[in-house]
């Protein structure tokens, strides 16, 4: 059952990214690029995703336990540290350069596009390097 839940969760998020065109780098760049034909669509994607998740989260978090697991696995880190700040800046730079963040890039794998596959391979290399060479907090 946890496998089915995880599969459907990924599928629903993926269909949402496909339908909203967030898997298209040009659509994302049309939001991030302010000086020509600005397209606010990404803002509405973020707002509606945030609203949906927030309402569910705050209604449900009082229940203390997930339906099919023994506890909620919430991130334990609290500190605003160097890895967080440097990471967010580098991520933003890569995102603004091409218009892919990790979700949409993985979702677009099935296109078979050599550009998308290369981006994903480089992203995986980046994940590997970040684990081998952690930044001191």
């Amino acid at each position: 059952m946890p496998l089915l839940i995880a599969f459907i969760a990924g599928l629903v998020m993926s269909i949402g990214m496909s339908y909203s065109q967030m898997i298209e780098p040009s659509k994302v760049l049309a939001f991030l690029t302010l000086n020509k034909n600005w397209d606010p669509s990404l803002l509405l994607v973020m707002v509606s995703a945030l609203l949906t998740y927030s309402i569910g989260y705050w209604l449900f978090v009082a229940k203390k336990k997930p339906i099919m697991a023994d506890k909620f696995y919430l991130p334990q880190k609290r500190a605003i540290d160097k890895p967080l700040v440097i990471g967010a800046i580098l991520f933003g730079a890569g995102w603004g350069l091409v218009g892919y963040c990790p979700g949409p890039a993985l979702v677009a794998i099935s296109s078979g596009s050599s550009g998308t596959l290369t981006f994903v391979a480089a992203m995986i290399a980046g994940w590997f390097i970040s684990r081998q060479l952690p930044i001191k907090a």
């Binding site: 839940i5 993926s14 909203s20 991030l32 690029t33 099935s110 550009g115 992203m123 980046g126």
Partner: protein, 134 residues
């Protein structure tokens, strides 16, 4: 704003939030895509649900194509920018422990200060880089 698509943005965004919420309510897990995918590849534990989630992500456009037969999407051209951007996104989400889904949606909804700061920073830098380069 001639390319503004508010309806599909609102419906698509709600589905993204709904999928992430489902994973949290049923399995107690945060739907941070960079964390799930990198742990699937580089951590030996808890691979089952992470693999199922990533398979769901990858088959999404194929399933959507069945519902909407005229569905087609554009991608990116192969070139140096794609390699550099991929590396930056991998390093950044690895060191910064999260991306648009984990920090931007799940973390901001929880009002996590780390996620709020991360989202402000990557949105701001993304806007600056895109506006200067494109």
């Amino acid at each position: 704003m001639e390319n503004f698509t508010p309806i599909s943005a609102l419906i698509g965004g709600s589905l993204i939030g709904l999928g992430a919420l489902m994973l949290f309510i049923f399995s107690g897990r945060i739907a941070g895509i960079s964390g799930i995918a990198s742990n699937l590849l580089f951590s030996a534990q808890q691979r089952g649900w992470r693999l199922a989630f990533v398979v769901g992500l990858i088959v999404g456009p194929l399933a959507f194509g069945l519902i909407k037969p005229d569905f087609a999407f554009t991608t990116v051209e192969l070139g140096w920018p794609v390699i550099i951007a991929g590396l930056l996104v991998g390093l950044g989400t690895g060191w910064g422990s999260g991306c648009t889904s984990g920090h931007g949606i799940c973390g901001m909804s929880r009002l996590s200060p780390r996620s709020i700061l991360s989202t402000i920073l990557f949105m701001l830098v993304g806007i600056i880089v895109a506006t200067l380069l494109h």
